[in-house]
Amino acid sequence: MTEIKAIEARNLTKYYGDFLAVDHINFNVEPGEIFGFLGPNGAGKSTTIRMLTGISTPTEGTAKIMGFDIVKNALKAKSVMGIVPDISNIYTELTAWENLVFTGKLYGVSKAKIEEKAEKLLKLFTLYDRRDEKVVGFSRGMKRRVCIAMALINDSKILYLDEPTSGLDVKSVRSIRGLIRELNEDGLTVFLTTHNIEEASQMCDRIAIINRGRIAVIDTPEMIKTAMKSSRSIEVAFNKTVKGTQKLFKSLSSVSEVQKRGDKMRLITDDPSQTLMQILKVIEENELKPITLNTLEANLEDAFLKLTGVEMKAEVMHKRRNMK
């Protein structure tokens, strides 16, 4: 017997008029997984999440949530999920307690269960002492926590989190990340969209990178970094700015690109050991005094830029050529 996937997207497509926002994407999310969904602005992240949660109807393709089709079996599919959108959509005129009770009723949870669960969640999210206060006076971080608590009142099996830590202070970010990890350890499947690549790298079991409506890659963060070997680099800084150094490094046979980053230079290379030797030779010949010399492994941000930025650059150039 095949195991039911938490989320199963098949040829999921969305057109807005003639504009193709999401282009026949396919992916699975396993139960108990934290699945990251990354992409630049306008890549199709929000449209995908809206289709997966039943807010928007797919133009083509299907999505199954714990085996229930989001279009044909919408009510059952929606019963097993909780959603935290990028903007905390809570009723600020109601108290934290009333918000949770209302959401519980909307999901058909019994009165006794709502009260038990609301108390547990508000205590977990350190909001219990302020449960009878109207949400309008809460900070952004507190509103975010109320929003996450509302998404969990129905014992959801899948939690969609759209930019959960965006715009929050460091303390709230840590607290929310900790809560997500705790909930995941208890078996909750998490579908996380974020702009914060470091967050995705730290939290997700697997990541999908979407660009211009298409999935560019799906893999574990480490595998994505490893696959982007060409993004390894050496960072070097000198005690003073020496004219022409950038040009010198650019001429090295093993260096594909030199990026100036503040007082440092980052040399992109396929072969860090050969580049290191070549750099040392340049230093010696030019009597330079290095104060920093670091070998950097590929990171997810580089992979992300490589998968999305390069393609976008090519697209812009193609458009410019066509305009001419």
């Binding site: 807005y16 809206r50 949660t53 039943g54 807010i55 928007s56 109807t57 919408a74 009510l75 059952k76 929606k78 019963s79 097993v80 999920m81 959603i83 959108p85 903007i87 959509n89 809570i90 009723y91 600020t92 005129e93 109601l94 009333e98 209302f102 959401t103 009723k105 909307l106 999901y107 058909g108």
Partner: protein, 250 residues
């Protein structure tokens, strides 16, 4: 196995009604169009016309139920679009029809409550008695359903500003008052005017309220009930249809 029954849907729908009652009944838009507007219109066009109380009370009640019941849906739906709480309903295990039904009930109860209060004060003040309780009941209750459904239909306009819903709604509400026998008696109207009056739901609200407070119905009790029922079905059907179309586009 997860199963959502009709009773479950009704319970969830009622949760929306109660929540809307808590949040939107005291909103400026609801107070202005639900209470101030009908009272102001009543005093502007009806009071001081030397009309007997049996003529004034139905006009006051008809205007109140017409304006108040149709005011909550446009305010609540457009505001919920603005703060994105409407998306909560779309991603919750509840059908769009039940969501709209919950919203409609909030408008309906607002309309019934305000009209009962206004008509009650009017009847006490004038010392007039209720001659046909059934007509009065349908004149308030069925009408509140019709106008609340009308508000929901206009709230399908995809906007996050209540003003952008109430302006087109007023473009319908205000002309309706002039073809419904409220300011010009139906028996003084020409053929076209009478046909327009027959089609207007407000005519039948006024007819039923007149019948309930000792007056007579121009089109008759049965026609009044049938026309109001048809409008309720039409508004409800179109309302959910338009909301579904908007959902598909989003």
């Amino acid at each position: 196995m997860i199963k959502v029954t009709l009773l479950d849907e009704l319970k969830r729908s009622w949760a929306i009604t109660v929540k809307d009652m808590k949040i939107y009944y005291l909103r400026p838009h609801a107070l202005m169009f639900g209470i101030l507007f009908p009272v102001a219109l009543f005093f502007t066009f009806s009071a001081g016309r030397n009309m007997p109380p049996e003529g004034l009370i139905p006009i006051l009640a008809a205007q109140t139920v017409f304006w108040s019941a149709s005011s909550i849906g446009p305010v609540s739906i457009s505001m919920e679009r603005r703060i994105l709480t409407f998306e909560r309903f779309l991603s919750a295990p509840i059908s769009i029809i039940s969501v709209l039904w919950g919203k409609m009930m909030a408008g309906f109860l607002f309309g019934v409550g305000i009209t009962t209060l206004a008509a009650g004060i009017g009847l006490l003040w004038s010392g007039q008695s209720i001659s046909n309780p059934l007509a009065l009941f349908f004149g308030v209750v069925l009408s509140a359903m019709v106008y609340s459904a009308m508000g929901i239909l206009f709230a399908s306009i995809p906007t996050s500003s209540p003003g952008e819903v109430t302006v087109p709604l007023n473009l319908v509400r205000i002309p309706l008052m002039f073809v419904s026998g409220m300011f010009f008696p139906l028996d003084s109207m020409s053929g076209v005017g009478v046909y327009a009056a027959l089609l207007s739901p407000l005519t039948h609200t006024l007819d039923l309220l007149k019948l309930g407070t000792g007056g007579s119905s121009f089109f008759g009790f049965t026609v009044n009930l049938c026309v109001l029922s048809v409008w309720m079905i039409v508004f409800l059907y179109l309302g959910q249809l338009f909301h579904k179309i908007i959902m598909k586009r989003e």
